[in-house]
Structure formats: structure tokens, C-alpha cells
Amino acid sequence: MAQYIVRRLAQAVVLLFLLSILFFALVNLAPGGPLAGYGQIRRMPPEQVAALKRQLGLDKPLPFQYLVWLVGNDWMKVDVDGDGLGDSLGTRQGILRGDFGNSFRSRKPVVDELNIRLPNTLYLMAVTMLVALGIAIPIGVISAIKQYSPFDIAVTTFAFAGQALPEFWLGLILILIFYVWLKNPLTGDPLLPVGGIYTIGTPFSIADRIAHLILPVAAGSLGWLAWYSRFLRSSMLDVMNQDYLRTARAKGLSQRAVMFKHGLRNALIPLVTLLALDLPYLFSGAVFIEMLFSWPGMGLFYYQAALQRDYPVLMAILIIGGISIVLSNLLADVLYAYLDPRIRYS
């Protein structure tokens, strides 16, 4: 197993290296070049643009620029004043040491900007996932046990509808219902808030935090809820046809013990794997939810960066996205082998 993980990690490193080349090429070969989003570039005289390019090292050949992006330039002389001559050692450390450069927009280090936003996204993702699973697991199991009952038919129909609802539209409709139409009977304010993580300018309150979570979580979790309940239903149905369940029943165990102790535990194995695989998508799905509900997280940050072509930010989030996908794939495989002793990797 350890050997397998090491081999997979080595493959992951190669894969991420390829992805980094791809992203770098994409940004640098894009029409308009890597400076397309750099503030006033369109109104600068050409000499000034050329000097800026020398300052940023964009006059060097692309493979060299890629190397600098990867490992930094603190080991070589760089042209600080843009006159074409090397002056002093560079300050960039390269993405391998966690330096993604400065945002074009705020001129602050991308890493600092990400550090503010990442916890907000993780917070939203975690609650969304807990809500989705907390509802999907019981309804998935019950609808499998009572296959073709009215409850099962209702759940299956709901799952189909839930998967066909685009989250951005669901978000708009929820805003209409709970912000525009329904009012708090005591104060006459909108029933639920629709912007940010908490009400700005008020002291910390759990109730306020929860109120701000309800709509984004509802809009973000419905699709996952539908998907997981459907998945768990079919996984549970598969397990229910297995011989070991028949054995458990033949031993004289109660229906409850058979279903929950033997059935559900086995049916959850593929779900755990699926969860690991889905984590990165939760992260990118956050773009819509964070944009609709002005949630100050990575998704909103990426959206704003794309609008302004803030390449250092875009590259950083793409690389993080790539890493999270590669690692979650590995995690899924390892978890699967760990949870299901019948599976052995060689």
C-alpha cells in the first residue's frame, strides 16, 4: 500500500508539473499577453510598457520566465528600474515556495489575499456538505429499503428535479422568496439576509451567522443532496442483493440490525470515495453561490480576477484547483482500499 501511494504521488507530481506548464502557456500565449489586465497598460506609451516588461522580466524567453515563475528569481540579478541592465537580486520566490506574485489589482501578494478568502470558502463548503449529506443519507437509505413505495417515488422524482436545477437560478429564486417576498413579521425587514457572512457593523452573533448561511447553503446543497440521495439509494440497493446480507438475515438478526449494521456500512463505502472525488467540484461550484450572495471566498475572488484578467490570482487558484483534484483522486483510491478489504492495489 505504501509503495502504491508513493508511486501515485510521483505520478501526481508529474501531472501537476504538466498542468503548470499548460496554465503558464495559456496565460502567456493569450492574445494581449500576460499584462492584458495590468491596470493602465492600454494608455501607457510604448517605451514605458517596454520598461515595465523588463522590470517584470517579461522580455526574457518564455521557458526562462516559466522557470522564474516556478523557482523564483532571488538567485539572479533583475532589472529593477527597467533600463535593460541587471541591478540587484530579485525578490520572487516562485510558486514552488508558495509565492504566487502580486495581484495586478490590489498589488498585494496573492498568497495574503488567498489566506483571507480560503477559510470563508471552506466554511461555506463544509456546512453545504454537512447539510447535503445529513439529509441525503437517511432519505437515500429509506427509499432503498422501501423501494417503489410512494416515499421512494417522491425521493427519486425530487432527485431528478434537484439535479436539473442550476444553482444560480435556484439562488435567484430563493432570493426572490426569502428576501423580496417574505418579510420578518416583527420588523418588516427581509426574512433572510442575502449578502456576505455577517451583518457588517454588528457584534458577533451566532444567529446572525446562521441567518447568513441559510440561503447560500440551501442554493448550494440542493444539487448535491439530490445527487447523493440517488447515489446512496442505488448503492444501498446493490448491497441489499449481496449474499452477506442474506447470511446476516439467516443468522436471525433483526431487520434493523441487518440494514444499518451490515447494509448501510457497506453502502457508504462508494459514497465516501465519491465524496473525496467531489470535493474539488464543490470548490468550483462555489463561484456561482459566492457571486450571487457576495460571499467573500475563493469563488468570488476568481470571478472578479477573471473579469479583470488578474493573471497572478487566476494562476494561483487554478494551480490550487489542480492540486486539489489530483490529491482528492488519490485520497479516493486510498480510502476505497482502506474501507473495502477486498480491494488490493499492486
Binding site: 495559456l26 442550476p166 444560480f168 437560478w169 468550483s284 477573471a306
Partner: protein, 312 residues
């Protein structure tokens, strides 16, 4: 009891195979799926409505400032937008764009994915490892984020044939990021099928690899491919709407369901119909397509239908 059940299954099998071609059988099973039938009816209705859009008395793009923000009425069943354009007309024209993008994405992913999967699965060896590594790499792209980046770049440049996020550009960008499921699916089917005797037989009879793949293996892999096509159509329409909703997809004044929703954001609090109807169309299309896909999956898999009907 077990005995009678077995014989019942056997009778059903005989009954349903007697004197019917495969496609008749598939159609028969498809018809048994109420969701799939309802989905087909709704989807056909939607496509007809979208095709008949030019019959509308209103222009989809010309503004009419006297009629801004009209509530839904007999004249304007879905109301009018900020520029006084009839929303129903725009939704129908938008549907043409959204469905066209969806179909183009299916065509692109199908041709790319099937080619890659067929070569990898049939040739095996070196070609297989290279193609599958490419597939793995493509699968580890954070696709929505890359989609946003690509369309944000393409939105601001002039390339011949790809003007400012036209239907073709968006379809290509989405297609380039979603052919992998097809490639894997086709490869897996080919790996199994190429070992079967009828393939060996036709190879002995001197058929070229191309002939074998096209006339012997592909027809046997058609079921899962068709099912995947319908699912892909749904994904593509959702992706196009999402992209246009963010403002990176199809650019106004050309309407698409996504950019209608995107434009609605400014005014939907006071004029909710602007947000309700375009989204409803996306929802109806996707749910119909998903039900059709489900019905097709069952129809191509006779065992599952019998199981569902409680006959096995």
C-alpha cells in the same frame, strides 16, 4: 416460489424476443418508462417552440422604450425586459442558442472522445497509455475554472471565425474540456469487445482495423454512447448557461438562457419574471433530457427493465 419466478422470467424473455428487431425492442422498453416519455414530449415541444420563434410578432433584439418592464399579459406572456423587448421572444431565440451550443458540444465531445477511446481501446499498448495519460491530465483540470479563464480571454480578442464568444467558440471551449467521459467509456467497451470471437473472425476474413472498428465494434457499443450523449447535452446546456450567467459566455444582445438570467440580476427584485422564465426553461430542458437519458439507459439494458418491473 423461486421455481415459478424463474419460469415467468423465461416466458417474458421469449415473448419479448419473438419476431422483433433490436430497435423495436429498445423502443418498446423506452415506452414503458413514463419519465422518459414525458421528457420526450416536453423536449420535442420545446424544440418546436424554439424553431417557430420567428413567428413571434416581436423582434428579439430591437428595443422598444415605450414598453419597458411590462408585467406578463396576453400580449407579452412572459412580460418585457429593461429595453421593452418581449421576453418570450427572447427566451425562444435564447433557446435556439442554448440548445445549439448543447448539440455542438455533444458533436465535438462525441467525435473527439470516440476517436480517442476507439484508438486507445482497439490499438492498446503504447497508443493506449499515451491517450489515457492525456485523458487523466484533462480530467485533473479544474474544468469550470479553466472554462471561465478561456472564455474571459476569448471574450476580448478578435480571431477570424471566433468573434467574441460566438456560439462556435463557446461550444469548442466547453467541448475541449468535456470529452473525457466518452473516451473512457468507449475505451472500456472496446477493450471487452475486441477480444470477442466475432472480431477475431472478421480479422481472419481480412477486414482492416478501421472496418472492424466502424462496422463491428462501434455498433455494439452504441447503447452507452447514446446514453452518454443525452447526459452530455444536459451538462453542456447547464455549463453554457452558467458561463453566460457569469458574463463570460454568449455576449448580449444575442440572447441565451444564461445571459438572460445574467441581465435579469439588475432588475429581478422589482421585475421577478425576468429571472423566473429563462431559468424555468433551463430547468425543463435539463430535467427532460435527464429523464430521456434514464429511459434510454434502461431500454438498452433489458435486465434492468425486468428488474424494475419486478419480473426478475
Amino acid at each position: 416460489m423461486a421455481f415459478s419466478q424463474e419460469s415467468k422470467t423465461a416466458t417474458i424473455a421469449i415473448q419479448s424476443f419473438e419476431g422483433a428487431t433490436t430497435s423495436q425492442l429498445i423502443w418498446k422498453r423506452f415506452r414503458r418508462h413514463p419519465g422518459a416519455m414525458a421528457g420526450s414530449v416536453v423536449l420535442i415541444g420545446l424544440i418546436l417552440a424554439v424553431l417557430l420563434a420567428p413567428l413571434s410578432p416581436y423582434d428579439p433584439e430591437k428595443s422598444n422604450t415605450n414598453e419597458r418592464f411590462q408585467t406578463p399579459s396576453w400580449q407579452h406572456p412572459m412580460g418585457t425586459d429593461a429595453l421593452g423587448r418581449d421576453l418570450l421572444t427572447r427566451v425562444l431565440y435564447g433557446g435556439r442558442i442554448s440548445i445549439t451550443v448543447g448539440l455542438m458540444v455533444v458533436a465535438i465531445t462525441l467525435s473527439l472522445g470516440v476517436t480517442m477511446g476507439a484508438v486507445a481501446g482497439y490499438a492498446g499498448g503504447m497508443a493506449d497509455s499515451i491517450l489515457m495519460r492525456i485523458t487523466d491530465a484533462a480530467l485533473s483540470l479544474p474544468s469550470l475554472l479553466v472554462l471561465i479563464l478561456l472564455s474571459a480571454i476569448l471574450r476580448e480578442v478578435e480571431i477570424p471565425f471566433f468573434q467574441r464568444n460566438s456560439v462556435l467558440t463557446i461550444a469548442l471551449v466547453i467541448g475541449l474540456l468535456s470529452w473525457m467521459t466518452f473516451a473512457r467509456l468507449v475505451r472500456a467497451t472496446f477493450l471487452t469487445l475486441r477480444e470477442l470471437d466475432f472480431v477475431t473472425a472478421s480479422r481472419c476474413l481480412g477486414a482492416s482495423p478501421f472496418q472492424i472498428v466502424v462496422s463491428h465494434i462501434l455498433p455494439n457499443a452504441i447503447g452507452p454512447i447514446i446514453v452518454e450523449c443525452t447526459l452530455e447535452l444536459g451538462y453542456a446546456i447547464i455549463e453554457e448557461s452558467g458561463l453566460s450567467f457569469l458574463g463570460f459566455g454568449i455576449q448580449p444582445p444575442t440572447p441565451s438562457w444564461g445571459n438572460l438570467l445574467s441581465n435579469a440580476q439588475e432588475n429581478f427584485i422589482r421585475y421577478p419574471w425576468l429571472a423566473i422564465f429563462p431559468g424555468l426553461m433551463i430547468f425543463l430542458t435539463i430535467i427532460s433530457v435527464n429523464y430521456i437519458g434514464d429511459g434510454l439507459r434502461d431500454a438498452f439494458d433489458p435486465y434492468k427493465v425486468l428488474q424494475k418491473a419486478g419480473e426478475l
